[in-house]
Symmetry: C2
Subunit: 267 residues, 2 copies
């Protein structure tokens, strides 16, 4: 029954106590030294068990204050979909993967300075070379009053850079995607790639989560409607614990095969 390692056993024992209610949500756990003595293990081993419980979403540890139970925390539900809505009044767009509607920028961390592309995959999707400097838009967002849980980064192809050059100085001009479309690239077509992966150290710091925490990554590639080449790549990195996509499955009866003519039925 126990092919587990010791730290997994300890994590398992602690998990059971949490689920049994012995340690209630928002309550503080005993300090690590006390737990180490109780379990008869080294401090490091208990610390590792806590790290596991943290990535699994059972507790949250804060240096200086303690380890707190985070079991049964609420999670934002975001309807899944593939419909892009345009709002010509605001000269903006609405992507289903991007927002739950009520999000806000945080910290003033917005950064619109052009940057060299380091990621090989992004370079390929945008059809530029690694190291090339392109316009970039960077945001960390989340609901008002709560911790941010989403990183938004967009890279723009150099050949349309002029079209979005004054977007920040002149907000009434509309979003940069709108500028690109009316600038001669209508209609933009998008592909979206969805992955689950582990947070990098940089992302973990931005989102206030532990390194290695699971995140959802949406990567969107926008193609020009005129020259049929990529014009933008946008990536959303979302704390996996904070959101959940929901979808109603529909029946495709058109794809239903008829009963076989010579009925092999036997029910």
């Amino acid at each position: 029954m126990a092919p587990h390692s010791r730290y997994e056993e300890i994590a398992e024992a602690m998990r059971r106590r949490i689920e049994a209610g012995e340690w209630e949500p928002d309550a503080r756990l005993p300090v690590i030294d006390a737990l180490a003595e109780e379990f008869g293990a080294a401090r490091n081993t208990v610390h590792r068990a806590i790290g596991l419980l943290e990535t699994l979403g059972y507790v949250a540890a804060t240096r200086g204050s303690g380890v707190v139970v985070r079991y049964g925390a609420a999670r934002a539900r975001r309807p899944r979909g593939n419909l892009v809505k345009r709002n010509l009044w605001l000269r903006g767009y609405s992507f289903p993967s991007a927002s739950a509607g009520e999000q806000w920028m945080k910290h003033g961390e917005a950064d619109n300075t052009p940057t060299a592309i380091t990621d090989e995959r992004v370079a390929k999707l945008l059809n530029v070379k690694v190291g090339e400097v392109v316009p970039r838009r960077f945001r960390v967002t989340g609901p008002i009053g709560e911790a941010p849980f989403q990183i938004n980064v967009s890279w723009i192809h150099p050949r349309v850079a002029e079209l979005v050059a004054d977007v920040d100085k002149n907000p009434a001009a509309g979003e940069w995607l709108y500028r690109i479309e009316v600038g001669g690239h209508w209609p933009i077509k998008w592909f979206e790639f969805i992955r689950a992966r582990n947070a990098t150290p940089e992302e973990a710091k931005l989102l206030g989560i532990r390194v290695g925490k699971a995140v959802m990554e949406y990567t969107r590639q926008g193609w020009s409607g005129s020259d049929d080449k990529p014009v933008e790549v946008t990536q959303y990195v979302i704390d996996g614990d904070r959101v959940e996509s929901v979808q109603v499955l529909e029946r495709d009866e058109s794809a239903t095969l008829p009963w076989p003519a010579n009925g092999e039925a036997e029910s």
Copy 2:
């Protein structure tokens, strides 16, 4: 520039070497002791750096053989969708989140024995109590000839247990979902919940991945069309490194607002 800890610095240095091609894909890295000496750090610290690189998908470590570069590995693409297809000939169903089509059961790990429900969320979705014993179907699947990368588990509500009791002995009778529908619960309606989270120790062992690796979790809840209560819950847990969902975004022009009557345009 370096708010990193030492193990993150070492991981960063190793990552740069991999991306620079100094350590090529499928090549073996130096042994940990050698790396520890080179970086002037303890063995444990280097080991932790390697663990980080492993969860980020850059390397794969195997006890007894070594650490191998896994950069740029292929990934299966699975079209995203919400259309459930019925196949009356096979008396089965096709869910977009479930399969890439060519999957196969692995290891003979299939397990159809009834089991007590331990997960509180699953219990709630199936509308039963935690600890209640219900029919369960368990599979670990993946493409032929490759390592499995997906865990499929289904729980069935006790009130429809009789309808699926003989499914295993009589394959020609069709899938258990088909049996439930023709047994008086047509049409079943489904909701699907999608999350990214970290693999538990059990899941990691089944999928052959490191504990804490990011996985996609699809949870499907099926409602009876007759008594409007849940009849089944199915969960897919998929190695995040092995699949990627792809989707074409469509324009919803019906939602587009008209230009304002008093044009504030200035482009």
